[in-house]
Amino acid sequence: MVTVLCIEDEVEIRNLLVEELSEAGYRTLEASNGAEGLEMILSKWPDIVISDISMPVMDGHQLLAEIQINHPELSNIPFILLTALTDRENTLAGLRGGAADYLTKPLDFDLLLAKLEGCVTRLANDKAVHRSF
């Protein structure tokens, strides 16, 4: 079962997201800010992370940087950032920072699930490759 960590400070969005993912068959973890998210990543090792950008304590960019710099062994975990449609700067920065993909708010759940599936497939292939070595 694939574990997805949802980092989002807006409770309602987080709840709906978690609901959707659960129904789609993912195991879900939750965090309400970047710091909590980091804790979760380090302790629970999720397969995929979906993260908002603007959050208190530690935001999405900071979290990404933190992983890339201080925990490179975890940098392979795909990050999907939630950005605003018109927030080009954040999107570009996030992608440059190492995010695998992004989704714009309001979220299109179909698109979300499709992207997750793609991630899962790639992860499986990666593991297969690694295992063969």
């Binding site: 309602e12 969005i13 709906l16 309400s32 959050m55 309001p106």
Partner: protein
């Protein structure tokens, strides 16, 4: 500078005056000496001339007596007293002859007149006898000579004039032949009658000379006078010195001074007055000039001051403008930040609504009525959130342009507060609201929707900024004068430095980074509260929590008037 200029002018003027006075005195002195000299010389010339005239006059005078009446000469014995008296008086009176002698053709003295009186018998005196005789003899000799070889010269023009001493008196004597007019007197050439006239210089003659020379005190002195210039030499006919005609010399400069002094002094006085006047005028002008100069300098300095002032003022204005510009830029930055925040703030509830709606469509498991109800509730909450935000923004906009008009109506303030709390309770189920509401007057006049907004803003802030602290305290108190409403949370709190600026539009405390907010809510709160005549205060401690306190004056809330913002 003042002193220097004045003294300079004074110096020049004084020098000029002194020079003029010196010149004047010099001229006066020179003139006095020279004029005295000239005067004396003129006087001497006059005297000399007078003397010469007296000497030259005798022959001419005798012209008038040469044509004597035959009768007189012929009848020299008969009625001679009458004629002789006439002649004697006449020559004395008109010509000033002191003595007159007439010698006949035999050189015998016919008549002798002294001082106009006939001397009978006629005789020559001791003092003049010799001289007269000698003079007569000389003429006779000339006549005889002439008779021998007759010359062109007319008889009447033959005359011998002598300046001689008679006794010790200087005299002019002249001898000449006289001819009777009558043809009856047959006189042989060489046998003519001879007349001799004598004028004493020290008597009437001197008087005449003095009269014509306009002199006083002219007299004969046998020896030299003291002043060379006030004497004329009288020499005898053969070159020797008889004596001098002397008069009192002019005192140096006296005459001149006497004549010129009044005029001179007057001129000097006039000159000095004029110079003084000019000097004073110049002095005054120079003072005026100096004054003007001072004024100009003062004005120039003042100008410099004024320029400096203006420059400083311009500097100040520039600084002010700079400050305003900086402030404007900051406001612009804040506004841009606000716009970004506002769009984010709208996007979130929209995202919630969209997600909830998608869930309703997609859910494969939970399609029960409860589920739908729950999702609908989420949607509605999000809508409320958006509406509140929209109202807040609109109110803020209207406050900025001054369009807010409080619509006051009677209502229950406490009830409004409670309603807002309830609404928020529904929105944030994680938070617990503790109401501590003491009685406040039931019926107050206030703008209901505005106060709703105020309470909503404060309560939703309390919730938003205390994500990990669920307790929210709402307190209401009232005394005779004031209604006090306090809303406290135990959330993230704020830096003390943010508190003074907290109520400015778009301002967000530093501790709020990461938490979405437009920064306009508190501004709306402050303005609405102040429109109700009240105040809002805030206390906060970073990490511990925040309390907002609204104080409303009851007096205001009781009045009936509509207040325009």
């Amino acid at each position: 500078m003042k002193v220097g200029l004045t003294s300079h002018i004074t110096f020049v003027l004084v020098t000029l005056t002194c020079a003029a006075a010196v010149l004047l005195c010099g001229f006066a002195w020179l003139a006095a000496v020279k004029v005295d000299d000239l005067s004396l010389r003129r006087q001497a010339d006059f005297v000399r001339q007078g003397l010469e005239e007296q000497i030259a006059a005798l022959p001419r005078e005798q012209e008038s007596v040469t044509k004597w009446d035959d009768a007189f000469l012929y009848t020299k014995q008969r009625n001679h007293e009458w004629l002789l008296d006439n002649i004697g008086q006449w020559t004395n009176r008109y010509f000033g002859h002191d003595r007159t002698y007439i010698f006949d053709d035999t050189n015998r003295l016919m008549f002798a007149f002294r001082d106009g009186a006939d001397a009978m018998p006629p005789r020559l005196g001791d003092d003049d006898g010799q001289e007269m005789t000698a003079l007569a003899g000389e003429i006779r000799a000339v006549l005889v000579e002439r008779a021998a070889k007759p010359g062109a010269e007319a008889l009447g023009q033959l005359a011998k004039v002598r300046t001689i001493m008679i006794g010790n008196r200087p005299a002019i004597a002249s001898a000449r032949p006289i001819l009777p007019s009558s043809a009856r007197m047959q006189i042989e050439a060489g046998q003519e009658f001879i007349a001799i006239s004598v004028k004493f210089i020290d008597g009437k003659t001197a008087e005449n000379i003095a009269h014509h020379a306009l002199l006083e005190g002219l007299h004969f002195a046998p020896s030299k006078g003291e002043d060379e210039r006030a004497q004329v030499l009288v020499s005898s006919h053969n070159g020797g010195t008889i004596g001098y005609l002397v008069w009192p010399p002019i005192l140096p400069g006296f005459m001149l001074l006497h004549q010129i002094a009044p005029a001179g002094l007057g001129c000097l006085a006039l000159l000095i007055t004029v110079v003084f006047w000019l000097g004073r005028g110049l002095h005054r002008t120079s003072l005026t000039l100096l004054d003007s100069q001072e004024q100009l300098t003062h004005h120039r300095n003042h100008l410099e001051e004024m320029v400096a002032d203006r420059t400083a003022e311009i500097e100040r204005q520039r600084e002010e403008l700079d400050r305003l510009l900086v402030h404007e830029r900051q406001v612009n930055a804040l506004q841009r930040q606000f716009v970004a925040m506002a769009s984010h703030e709208f996007r979130t509830p929209l995202a919630i609504i969209d997600a909830a709606a998608q869930r309703l469509c997609r859910s494969t498991t939970n399609v029960s009525g409860d589920y739908v109800h729950e999702k609908a509730g989420v949607i509605r909450s999000a809508v409320v959130r958006m509406v509140d935000l929209m109202e807040s923004i609109l109110a803020s906009g209207r406050l900025e342009t001054g369009q807010i008009t409080l619509k006051r109506s009677e209502g229950d303030l406490k009830a409004v507060l409670v309603t807002c709390c309830d609404r928020q309770r529904h929105l944030s189920r994680t938070h617990v609201f503790h109401l501590d509401l003491e009685p406040i007057p039931d019926v107050l006049t206030f703008d209901r929707s505005a106060m709703e907004q105020v309470f909503t803003n404060l309560i939703s802030n309390a919730v938003k900024y205390s994500p990990d602290a669920p307790d929210i305290h709402v307190r209401a108190r009232a005394d005779e004068k004031t209604v006090e409403i306090a809303i406290s949370d135990s959330g993230i709190g704020m830096d003390a430095e943010d508190l003074p600026k907290l109520f400015q539009p778009y301002y967000r405390a530093r501790s709020a980074t990461g938490i979405a907010g437009t920064g306009i809510g508190l501004n709306v709160v402050k303005q609405v509260v102040e429109l109700h005549g009240g105040t809002v205060e805030v206390t906060s401690e970073l990490g511990k929590g925040t309390t907002f306190t609204i104080l409303l004056p009851i007096e205001f809330l009781l009045s009936d008037q509509q207040v325009a913002a």
